[in-house]
């Protein structure tokens, strides 16, 4: 049982990690909790299903295509909803983010209906179902390995982008000090859009994997997953990408073990409780990146 | 002279930056004392340590009240205000969107008590308290020369008037020591003269005044004693004329202060 839960936890933890890095990157560059990020995750799943079922695009192509669409959605979100409020106080931006979240959730409900949909399993590679490894009473399917592998590849890729590329450096600069970054010739708005794109792509990928693996898509799936991923980002220290990754995995495992051993009813509650406790006790999270205090009076 | 405030070996560091080093001096009850020094010397930091906004890294700040002494280093700002030390801000921090009279009424906060039930039920105590708050607020406005302007919005006032309002608010907190941070900044000579007169009147009401100021005319005109700090350290203190002629002080200012005082 423990191993089974551990595997479940690592699987979902990797997903949380991918969504969490999106939150943390966006918070890093614009100091905004992008409430609508969960909806981008949800859209990823729905885009993929639509591409596969309606347009007949094969899975391996639909996946990156949906990711790209999510990246675009992220950028549009920034340009139309958040950028005009760049100079506004946080209250306004927060309310806008919630408004966009609700807007997107219901838009999805209108387009795709509110009932849960299955993922077209026949589109998935056949070997996904097959067991790749088996130990201690736990079966690891190729799908599991695909998710683990893809998550790791994306995390590594993200780290490389942040550390080694020009864009990554620009993102870090903007996160540290927007004014100085602008003064060194960085196009801050474009970097922010780029960050949204990256966050969107990763979130979308997570959505596709969840939709396919758990074989269920519904317009509000981004809501709960989003909060949990945010909890993971906070746990890791908001603004810290490695923190978000670690936080995601820790939260996923904690949730799976908690649901398995304590109470499955409060599965979601574990994340909320972790989040509240972490915020109150150690707001800087595991990796101790101090939250920039931008209270208006300071 | 009985000291009202004693600062002993005060240190304040911000990370690696030592803003205040071993500052020691007393403020005597009833005096008007100036704190001067070049920009960046640490004057406002000193204020902030006394007022409770900053916590001293080391050293003590002791407030004397009659027979007892109260250490206030590290106390929270609202506690310091309640103990009788008021301050104004270098960059004027009024409640911009509130009326002039409300600004002063809020100053009375630490001397009053009513909360939710008083507000809703308006019992005798709350009514009496509100009446007292309002009356005293008007008195403070009159004291600083802003009578009749209670209903104006603070934001819309002229700069000099805003300074006076801030002083009225600070006086409303019922202080024994009033700390003014560059009150004459941006004032024309007439306003400065009015300010000096106001400071004298404040002292005549048994309030000790500590003032940070760059305008040497004001310092010379109003301060009985001057403490000079530079680079976070105590440089010298004494009567204004003596300090003004002290070569170390002139050197600290590189001549700018000395030129203005002529």
């Amino acid at each position: 049982m423990f191993l089974q839960q551990l595997v479940n936890g690592l699987t979902i933890g990797g997903i949380y990690a991918m969504i969490a890095v999106g939150y943390t990157m966006i918070y890093g560059v614009v100091q905004l909790i992008n409430f609508a990020h969960g909806e981008i995750y949800m859209l990823g799943a729905f885009f993929a299903v639509t591409f596969i079922s309606v347009l007949g695009i094969p899975f391996y192509a639909a996946f990156p295509l949906a990711m790209v669409c999510c990246a675009v959605c992220g950028v549009l979100l920034d340009i139309f909803a958040y950028r005009p409020l760049r100079q506004s106080p946080r209250l306004a931006a927060l309310i806008t983010a919630i408004g966009m979240s609700i807007f997107l959730q219901n838009l999805a409900m209108i387009i795709w209906g509110s009932r849960p949909k299955p993922f077209p399993q026949e589109a998935l590679p056949a070997y996904f179902e097959k067991t790749a490894a088996s130990f201690g009473g736990v079966n690891l399917s190729w799908f599991h390995l695909f998710i683990f592998g893809l998550t790791i590849v994306m995390m590594v890729g993200l780290n490389l982008i942040i550390k080694k590329t020009r864009w990554g450096r620009a993102m870090r600069a903007v996160a540290q000090n927007k004014t100085m970054a602008a003064l060194t010739g960085i196009n801050v708005n474009r970097v922010i859009s780029y960050t949204f794109a990256l966050a969107g792509a990763l979130g979308g990928a997570a959505g596709i994997m969840v939709g396919a693996f758990y074989n269920s898509l519904y317009p509000t799936m981004g809501y709960v997953a989003g909060v949990k991923a945010f909890a993971a980002a906070v746990l890791g220290g908001i603004g810290s990408v490695p923190g978000a990754m670690l936080g995601g995995v820790v939260l996923g495992v904690a949730e799976a073990l908690g649901a398995g051993y304590l109470s499955s009813l409060y599965r979601d509650g574990i994340s909320y409780a972790v989040m509240i406790i972490v915020i109150i006790l150690i707001p800087a999270g595991l990796f101790g990146r101090v939250l920039k205090e931008t209270k208006k009076s300071m | 002279m009985i000291p009202i405030l004693e600062i002993k070996a005060l240190y304040k560091s911000f990370g690696g930056l030592e803003a205040l080093k071993d500052i020691t001096f007393n403020i005597d009850s009833g005096e008007i004392i100036g704190l001067i020094g070049p920009n960046g010397a640490g004057k406002t930091t000193l204020f902030n340590c006394v007022a409770g906004i900053e916590k001293p890294t080391a050293g003590r700040i002791i407030l004397t009240n009659g027979n007892h002494t109260i250490p206030i280093g590290g106390k929270k700002p609202e506690a310091v205000a309640a103990l009788g030390i008021a301050r104004t801000f270098q960059n004027i921090r009024l409640f911009d969107n509130l009326t002039v009279i409300d600004n002063v009424k809020i100053g009375r906060h630490c001397r009053t008590k009513s909360l939710f039930f008083g507000a809703v039920i308006r019992n005798k105590f709350q009514q009496a308290e509100e009446k007292a708050i309002t009356e005293s607020a008007y008195q403070f406005l009159e004291f600083v020369g802003l009578q009749g302007r209670g209903q104006e919005i603070a934001r819309s006032m002229a700069y000099g008037d805003q300074r006076r309002l801030e002083i009225a608010r600070a006086l409303a907190t019922g202080p024994r020591l009033l700390m003014l941070d560059e009150p004459a900044a941006g004032m024309n000579p007439q306003e400065s003269r009015d300010l000096m007169d106001l400071i004298h009147r404040i002292r005549d009401n048994d309030i000790t005044v500590l003032l940070i100021e760059h305008d040497m005319k004001v310092v010379m005109g109003v301060c009985e004693r001057v403490v000079v700090i530079n680079h976070g350290e105590w440089l010298t203190e004494g009567k204004p004329q003596d300090v003004q002629n002290n070569p170390k002080v002139i050197e600290a200012y590189l001549g700018t202060g000395a030129a203005n005082a002529a």
Binding site: Q31, I33, P84, L85, Q87, S88, L91, A92, L94, I95, T96, I98, G99, S101, I102, N106, M109, I110, V227, D268, G269, Y272, I276, I279, I280, P283, L291, K295, K296, S297, M298 | F14, T44, I53, E54, P77, E78, A81, A86, R87, F89, N91, R93, L94, F95, D96, N97, L98, D102, I106, H109, C110, R111, S114, L115, F116, G118, A119, I133, T173
Partner: protein
């Protein structure tokens, strides 16, 4: 309050009295139906809730995303006390108030020292936990099955040898709701014009200056949050005794958002603005509920519309329709009052 002769009243007062009269006679007007009465009561309920929430962002500048938690706690406490002990509603109102206030203190004390974003998230988490609790603790709340059979409100004079009037239909609740709204507005006005209200406005305007006047930030924020929670709970208690049936999904985040929309739309911090916001959004919600199927659109478009309204409001009129100067100044983009304070001045943890 002075003399009530017409010539002594201001125009504003005349409008308000006229409205009050209108509202009082509304039920007897020919076009009124039970359905419309029901909507009116709903509007009044949301007015109370919105006025309660208004204290936190409107008077204190913080975003409370978990308001529905207090609403739910108030409703279920009221419902359960009635269901199990048959308590009279007149006893429940003050109990709900106190209960809400206590929860407000419990949640507020550890969290109000946080910055705005974190505070918003924590309150959100709180309300989600409340819903989870209500859904899962079936032994207490019957969970998703809901809690039916809550007594209606009654005026019980049997102790004095008199009759017992049970509320039947919408009409008694209509007048009760009016009384409760008036009481709430009364309290809000009294607070606004008091030392407590001034302290809140001071905090909202400039925390550092407020502190220099002796105001303990955390204590006053907790008081605000606690009173806000108390009103949420009272609203919940009314709801429980009115619809006489409760289920956890009535207390989801959407409600918090809706109430937030009302105060944002109407004008945060403005008592009348908030009430108007409630009128508009509840009416709009009902109108859309009828209208959308006629247009071939699903009912969920309502929510979409509200989300969009909020986004547009923040973009173009962030201070709401009836803004008050202090909040408008805060919400304006590219704030002109950038203080050039040195970092040393405001470095609180």
């Amino acid at each position: 309050m002075g003399k009530l002769e017409p010539q002594n009243l201001t125009r504003g007062a005349k409008i308000r009295i006229g409205l009050l009269v209108f509202v009082l006679i509304l039920p007897v007007l020919p076009f009124m139906t039970d359905y419309l009465l029901h909507i009116a009561i709903l509007i009044f309920l949301y007015m109370i809730l919105a006025l309660g929430l208004n204290i936190v962002p409107g008077f204190n500048g913080l975003l409370d995303l978990g308001y529905v938690g207090f609403y739910g706690i108030g409703a279920y406490t009221s419902g359960l006390l009635t269901y199990h002990f048959g308590l009279s509603y007149w006893v429940i109102i003050p109990l709900a108030f106190i209960n809400g206030a206590i929860w407000g203190i419990l949640l507020g004390a550890p969290t109000l020292r946080l910055t705005g974003d974190y505070f918003a998230i924590v309150t959100f988490g709180f309300s989600e936990l409340v819903v989870l609790f209500l859904t899962n603790e079936i032994w207490l709340t019957r969970g998703p099955l809901g809690l039916p059979g809550i007594d209606v409100v009654s005026i019980d004079l049997t102790l004095f040898g008199g009759p017992k009037w049970e509320f039947v239909g919408e009409l008694p609740y209509y007048y009760l709701a009016i009384v409760m709204v008036l009481a709430t507005v009364f309290v809000m006005y009294r607070i606004q014009d008091s030392r407590l209200g001034r302290a809140w406005f001071a905090i909202r305007d400039d925390e550092v200056a407020a502190v220099s006047c002796g105001i303990n930030l955390l204590a006053y924020k907790v008081i605000a949050f606690s009173i806000s929670a108390a009103f949420g709970a009272v609203g919940g208690s009314f709801f429980a005794r009115w619809v006489t049936f409760l289920s956890p999904d009535m207390f989801k985040f959407w409600e918090s958002f809706l109430i937030l929309c009302m105060i944002v739309l109407g004008g945060m911090g403005n008592i009348w603005g908030v009430m108007i916001g409630a009128v508009i959004l509840v009416s709009l919600s009902e109108i859309l509920r009828e209208l959308l199927p006629l247009l071939g659109l699903p009912v969920e478009v309502r929510f979409l519309a509200f989300g969009l309204i909020m986004v547009l409001m923040m973009r173009y009129r962030p201070a709401g329709m009836l803004p008050i100067a202090a909040v408008a100044a805060q919400m304006r983009a590219g704030r002109t009052k950038r203080r050039k304070t040195k970092p040393a001045l405001g470095k609180k943890k």
